[in-house]
């Protein structure tokens, strides 16, 4: 890893513009109110595009790790600054690039929404916060961005707040994220207590001097934060409900960018708190594998197209987490998969949005079918995204997922095989989505007239699908991304070689093909019932999100309620006595003391006179001590 150097001026010095554009746009749109309705969406699109241009210009500068100090926030304690290094640039490019496409798509998708301006304001706010998160040069500012994306996510999930489900989902996302944030905060405090600073540079440099226990504790706390934000077990339950938000939100925030913040956090802190073989890293890999399987299983049973994709998102982020726990050998694959996933999952979500747009916002796949002829562009782009995610040879997902599986296999065979099984399930559930939506017979109602979406929506799909085809190969072949990221996250001792036909790779492909075949038999060639059959115990298990909510309810909510009741009881009996007594005491003394203010000017004069006498006396006493 390269040391971080101070930098000012030049293009890098102007990198704060990346955050400033969308932030200013959000402020204008929110403060401007209805006046900006007419052109609000155009400004909203301009901002991320402008940020993208800045990001590209930063990318084209000589590679290095630059710390751009902006100003002292609390002198001597916290500075506000940006860290421009290969890792943060990579993220910035993803956020602004994919973000811009999704903004453009939203012009069409939200065209009929009376609140479109507000929607763009929130999206801009999200982009600004997300950029702050990845560009921060210290944990405190990172946390600011972290909370900022949480806020934007909350606002956008609940964007259609007139739907009770959306309002509830927003609240759920917020509450579950608070649990994660609490962990993050404790980690933050521990970091400050241990190192006396929040800045990445000094923290990473001095990490070796801290005790092992402290480092593990910080690592676990940060991981809890990451689990909340990235919907990893056990804090995964909010993501499926978050699909209540408008589809572009699901694509941008709950697939491509925000949910990868946890991966970013782990990779960014990797050198200090998640070194290869450490306890914290092991936990990261376990969380990753568990989530990738859980997400995949949930994905198999969902009839709601967005929820099926959400399960898939969980699962794919599980892959990234797994890789992030494997040290420098895994980082590049984690980030590479994150980037390609950003493309193909955004592609899939926007495709799903396009389908919903055509189907009067119907989300149940059992009411789709045979759409491939009516929506050719959507079908082709969706199909490319599908091939990419299942790891069809030579498409993006093939390279990046295979890299993760190979690395995991090298590190621990159990992890590796579980990841392979996950890939097989991916083949099944993604094929199921495609077959149910685009193949088979038409199952929609008579008053629905599917049509292709306008070009403002299809062009982003086309661009994203092109990325889904080529990006993976570009990043992985000749280890381009790994070498590029090396200065920021470190390099493994030996650079991995890409084997097109390794045994693991072949096994993976075989399982994926098997999964796809099963899906074809059940959902492609066979008639799909319009009402979901009851299914086996396992199906129900998957449909109910592996009983995640029930588990939360049984394990956390009910005991929580009991605990609350107990606490309330204790509070009423014990604490309230003290607190209320204190409050009543203060209030009472206030009520009594204010009577001294009689309103008579002479009594005020008396107070001055006596005060003067006391002052003289006190001074006299002190002076003669």
């Amino acid at each position: 890893m390269e040391p971080i150097v101070e930098h000012s001026g030049g293009v890098i010095g102007a990198s704060w513009l990346m955050i400033a554009f969308p932030l200013a746009s959000a402020a204008i749109l929110l403060l401007g109110g209805r006046r900006t309705n007419a052109w609000g969406h155009l400004l909203g699109v301009f901002a991320p595009v402008a940020s993208f241009v800045v990001a590209v210009m930063c990318f084209l500068q000589p590679s290095g790790r630059y710390d751009v100090g902006l100003y002292d926030f609390i002198p001597g304690v916290a500075k506000v600054g940006l860290l421009i290094d290969p890792l943060s640039i990579t993220f910035a490019l993803l956020i602004t690039g994919v973000g811009s496409l999704i903004h453009i798509y939203s012009i069409g998708y939200m065209a009929h929404d009376p609140e479109r301006r507000r929607f763009f304001a929130y999206l801009n706010l999200f982009v600004a916060a997300m950029l702050l998160l990845v560009l921060a040069d210290n944990y405190l500012v990172l946390f600011l961005g972290w909370e900022g994306v949480g806020l934007a996510s909350y606002l956008l999930i609940g964007f259609w707040q007139f739907k009770p489900t959306a309002a509830t989902a927003a609240k759920k996302a917020f509450v579950v994220n608070r649990v994660g944030d609490f962990g993050f905060l404790v980690g933050l405090f521990t970091i400050f207590a241990t190192f006396g600073t929040f800045a990445f540079g000094p923290v990473f440099d001095n990490a070796a001097k801290a005790s092992n226990g402290t480092l593990t504790a910080i690592g676990i706390m940060l991981l809890i934060g990451a689990c909340g934000k990235s919907a990893q077990l056990p804090l995964q339950s909010w993501l499926l409900d978050a699909m209540e938000g408008p589809t572009p939100v699901s694509a941008l925030i709950h697939a491509a960018t925000m949910v990868t913040a946890g991966v970013y956090l782990v990779v960014r802190s990797g050198a200090a708190f998640f070194p290869e073989g450490a306890t914290a890293s092991l936990i990261v890999t376990i969380v990753g594998v568990a989530t990738l399987l859980a997400g995949a299983i949930i994905g198999t049973a969902k009839d709601d197209i967005k929820k099926a994709l959400a399960g898939s998102t969980m699962s794919q982020i599980g892959y990234m987490m797994l890789a992030a726990g494997l040290g420098p050998a895994g980082y590049a694959f984690a980030i590479a998969h994150l980037l390609t996933h950003g493309f193909f999952k955004a592609d899939l979500f926007l495709g799903a949005g396009s389908v919903m747009h055509a189907m009067k916002d119907e989300v149940n796949m059992r009411r789709y079918g045979a759409l491939r002829a009516l929506m050719p562009v959507t079908f082709i782009t969706f199909f490319i995204g599908y091939l990419a995610i299942i790891g069809f040879p030579l498409l993006s997902g093939y390279f990046t997922k295979d890299g993760i599986i190979e690395t995991a296999m090298d590190s621990n065979a159990i992890l590796g095989w579980l990841a392979v099984i996950g890939a097989g399930i991916t083949g099944f559930y993604m094929s199921r989505v495609v077959f149910m939506t685009f193949f088979g017979s038409k199952r929609w109602a008579d008053d629905v007239h599917p049509h292709e979406s306008p070009s403002v929506m299809t062009w982003p799909l086309i661009i994203l699908s092109i990325g889904s085809i080529f990006l993976g190969g570009y990043l992985i072949l000749s280890n381009r991304l790994m070498v590029y990221l090396g200065p920021a996250v470190g390099l493994p001792e030996a650079l991995p070689q890409f084997h097109p036909f390794s045994p693991t790779g072949l096994a993976t492909l075989a399982l994926v093909a098997l999964g796809a075949a099963i899906a074809w038999v059940r959902y492609g060639s066979a008639e799909v019932p319009q009402v979901a059959p009851r299914g086996s115990f396992l199906t129900t298990f998957a449909r109910r999100d592996l009983y995640g909510d029930a588990l939360n309810e049984a394990l956390l909510m009910r005991p929580g309620q009991w605990l609350t009741r107990l606490a309330v009881w204790f509070d009423n009996k014990g604490v309230d006595g003290v607190v209320n007594g204190l409050a009543a005491g203060i209030g009472g003394s206030s009520g009594r003391l204010r009577r001294i203010q009689t309103g008579f000017v002479r009594s005020y004069a008396l107070s001055i006179f006596v005060g003067a006498a006391v002052l003289v006396g006190a001074w006299y006493v002190v002076g003669n001590l």
């Binding site: 002292d72 926030f73 002198p75 203060i586 001055i608 002052l615 001074w619 006299y620 002076g623």
Partner: protein, 514 residues
């Protein structure tokens, strides 16, 4: 030997901000005397605003031209040093925004008995009370001089020049005349009473040191040793006058009554400008003249600071009138600033504490002007709606206004990302580094109590249902500008405090001129 009188040297450039303000005030009086009634407002408003802007520009010009000066100008009568210039700039800024708040709050004819024929005639003639403007200018000039006076006589004269117009201004409210006049009388009697104490303290210190020059008092303290009843009584009695002006307990009684009764723009000016000026003078007396006596006065100021913070915060809790509540909050804030006044353990700490105080004064001044600006906007048929019950549900009727006020209140409570947080942080950290840890503990507890009543107003505005016949919102463009500016300043100083902190620490670097 022939005694010739040598003409004193006057540094006109250094004193130009003062001269501009006083000059404009005198011109304003002439306008009142000679200009026809219908033209006066057209003269007075631009004249007042322009003179304040010009004075502000001159402050900047002085610093830009020769750097931060550090000398006693006008034969040692007026100190022109970093803190003085910073305070001048602050007062001029606060006065400017306070003047913008002046709308139709003033009575058309002060001599007329409320409800009488004369008053009706004055109203129907469309008479406007334009002498408000020169009075404000005189008061501002007095504030400038008060914070920069380098001897006790100038300080006394400045105190009176500042206070006399304010006494008048307090009594000129158009609505609720009885309250306004009562406030004026109480302020006047108590102010005169306390300035008599100030003067007696001056006399005793003169008797002790043979001079009223702050630096000469300081030198005679170090040579004589400082064990003298003249000195103790003099210093304590002098302190009464200063503590009265900042509203420290037990000399705070006037503040709630006067703040409530005075026309709200004047309350804003007093709560911001007067407080700033009074702290400038207080620091000068305690740090320059009595600097060598620190071991004696610091326990006394400790006690006063604790009392002020606690009493201010506790009494604010049960207030039902928003202006009165803000007055008590102002008392508590004076206590918070006092914590940094005692933090004097060496030149470095002094400069740290001084810069913290300067920052606090700017931040608090702007926030408080903004808050009073909001108060002027919420109107009942009979005038501003002061009673808190009238503010219930304001968040639903006028969400933007309520949010801005909520923001000001949070800033006063010292929530991070507002200017109030850094202000409190600055004074408390200075107090800690000066060894006053216990004081800071009390300060934090008082802040917690204070947060209660700030948040209570926010809860009232947002979580209760608006009354059917709730107050109407009047938003003159100037007031809106003031409130917007104050809100912006509160945000900027909360997120990006560095430039102003730097400015304050630069101003505080060389401390006061001796």
């Amino acid at each position: 030997m022939t005694d010739t009188i040598t003409a004193p040297t006057i540094e006109y450039l250094l004193l130009s901000p003062l001269l501009v303000v006083f000059g404009a005030a005198i011109v304003g009086v002439l306008v009142e005397a000679f200009a026809p009634r219908y033209l006066r407002a057209a003269f007075q408003v631009p004249l007042t605003l322009l003179s304040l802007v010009a004075a502000f520009a001159l402050v900047i010009f002085v610093v830009v031209k020769d750097g931060v000066p550090n000398k006693a100008a006008a034969m040692g009568a007026v100190a022109a040093d970093g803190p003085a210039l910073f305070i001048w700039g602050t007062i001029l800024l606060l006065a400017f925004v306070s003047v913008l708040l002046i709308g139709d709050d003033f009575v058309p004819s002060a001599v007329a008995v409320p409800g009488s024929v004369e008053e009706e005639r004055a109203v129907s003639e469309g008479a406007a009370h334009t002498e408000v403007y020169p009075l404000v200018l005189f008061a501002v000039g007095g504030m400038l001089l008060f914070a920069a006076s380098n001897d006790l006589l100038v300080m006394f004269v400045a105190l009176e020049v500042m206070s006399l117009p304010l006494y008048m201004l307090c009594g000129l409210a158009r609505r609720r005349r009885l309250l306004s006049q009562e406030a004026a009388m109480k302020y006047f009697l108590l102010g005169a009473f306390s300035s008599a104490f100030f003067l007696y303290g001056t006399a005793l210190l003169y008797g002790y040191a043979g001079s009223i020059d702050l630096s000469k008092i300081s030198t005679s303290l170090s040579s004589v040793g400082g064990q003298d009843s003249l000195l103790f009584i003099g210093a304590a009695v002098l302190g009464v006058g200063l503590f009265f002006k900042i509203g420290a307990v037990p000399f705070q009684m006037w503040k709630p009554d006067v703040y409530q009764g005075a026309p709200t723009p004047i309350t804003a000016l007093m709560a911001s400008g007067t407080l700033v000026a009074a702290f400038g003078a207080l620091l000068r007396v305690f740090w320059v003249a009595l600097g060598n006596l620190e071991w004696d006065w610091s326990p006394v100021v400790w006690a006063v600071a604790i009392l002020t913070m606690v009493v201010g915060a506790i009494l604010a809790i049960t207030q039902t009138d928003i202006k009165r509540m803000l007055a008590y909050s102002s008392i508590a804030h004076a206590g918070f600033i006092l914590t940094a006044v005692v933090a004097t353990a060496g030149a470095k700490q002094n400069s740290l504490a001084l810069s913290g105080i300067l920052f606090y004064l700017v931040a608090y001044g702007l926030t408080t002007v903004g808050a009073f600006g909001v108060v002027t906007m919420v109107r009942d048929p009979g005038g501003e709606a002061w009673h808190l019950s009238r503010w219930a549900g304001l968040g639903k009727r006028s969400p933007k206004l309520a949010m801005v006020l909520a923001f000001f209140l949070l800033a006063m409570a010292g929530i991070p990302l507002t200017s109030g947080f850094f202000a409190k942080y600055a004074v408390f950290s200075a107090a800690v580094s000066g060894g006053a840890v216990a004081l800071v503990v009390v300060g934090v507890v008082a802040s917690a109590i204070a947060a209660f009543f700030y948040v209570r107003v926010i809860v009232l505005m947002f979580f209760s249902d608006p009354a059917a016949d709730g107050p109407s919102i009047v938003m003159p463009i100037a007031t809106r500008g003031v409130v917007g500016f104050a809100a912006l300043a509160t945000v900027v100083l909360g997120v990006f405090p560095q430039p102003v902190l730097d400015l304050a620490s630069k101003a505080a670097q060389s401390l006061f001129v001796r």
